[in-house]
Amino acid sequence: MNLNPMEQFAVKPIFGLDKPLLHIGSHPIFFTNQALLMVIVAVASALFLSLAVKPGALVPSRSQSMAELSYEFVANMIHSATGEDGLKFFPFVFTLFIFVLCSNFFGMVPGSFTVTSQIAVTLALACLVIGLVIVTGFMKHGFGFLKLFVPHAPWYLLILLIPIEVISFLTRPISLSVRLFANMLAGHTMLAVFGGFVVALGSAGGALSILSVAPMLLIVAIMLLELLVAFLQAYVFAILTCIYLNEALHLHDHH
């Protein structure tokens, strides 16, 4: 039996599609378990949200109120973080939030695959966010956007502060992606390690087998914590997107 806790993160071609689907340049493209989960997440969330609000009932059903609740939740979040003119980014932030949330939750299903535990996915999402922030900033302020890197300070401090501001802006995609990736990776590794304890104790025989109930109960508790983390990280990803967009929209002044 393979008890390697890192094995669950392996990206591999599925459905026996060992031959690449297509080539980009000389680089082969496979249909992997990660791609499958991303398709499932995108289709499932889009289907649920569109079917849930279809009836448009005045007194919403359970699924309709879930969809409306998530809509209001994200709308309130954007409004409180960026103000009125941030609401035009609602579709982007909502899509991002739902995608990350559903990826995290689908990953919690035992035996499935966590899309957000791959740095490639989270870094792509984070680069998308920072790219949007930069484009928004230049479209709204022109080259005045560069004032973002110049805080209100005496000139001799600016020599020190401007490089710091530039570096902190440029490391944002890294910290944004590593935060989500590392949280998911650490959580799922921890679950797998405790799962290994159960197997090792259970196969030891005698009184030790009975003891294996203890790590099993612990897994249940950690699972609950991981569900909280799964939601929290999606929320943090979305709210940090809002905060970065707010800086691009309003530079230093408060809305």
């Binding site: 979040m77 409180s80 590593v178 650490a186 943090v236």
Partner: protein
């Protein structure tokens, strides 16, 4: 062989990052509680900041984990 041992030690040392994360998370929730008990009326408005601070603190500890993984698997 020595390289393998050094890798293990280095990966273990990277977990010292958890000290800072632990202090930080304790500080976030401790400060929130002491503030919330003084002024319970304002407590509900600050849950966003609480969760944000918690997540940011936790992430700094996890950067240590990333370093450990880099040492173990990337080099």
């Amino acid at each position: 062989m020595e390289l393998a041992a050094a890798k293990m030690i280095g990966a273990g040392l990277a977990c010292i990052a958890l000290v800072g994360a632990g202090i930080g998370i304790g500080n976030v929730f401790g400060s929130y509680l002491s503030g919330a008990l003084r002024n319970p009326g304002a407590a509900a408005t600050q849950t966003t900041n609480l969760l944000l601070g918690f997540a940011l603190c936790e992430a700094t500890g996890l950067f240590g984990l990333v370093i450990a993984l880099l040492i173990l698997f990337a080099f």
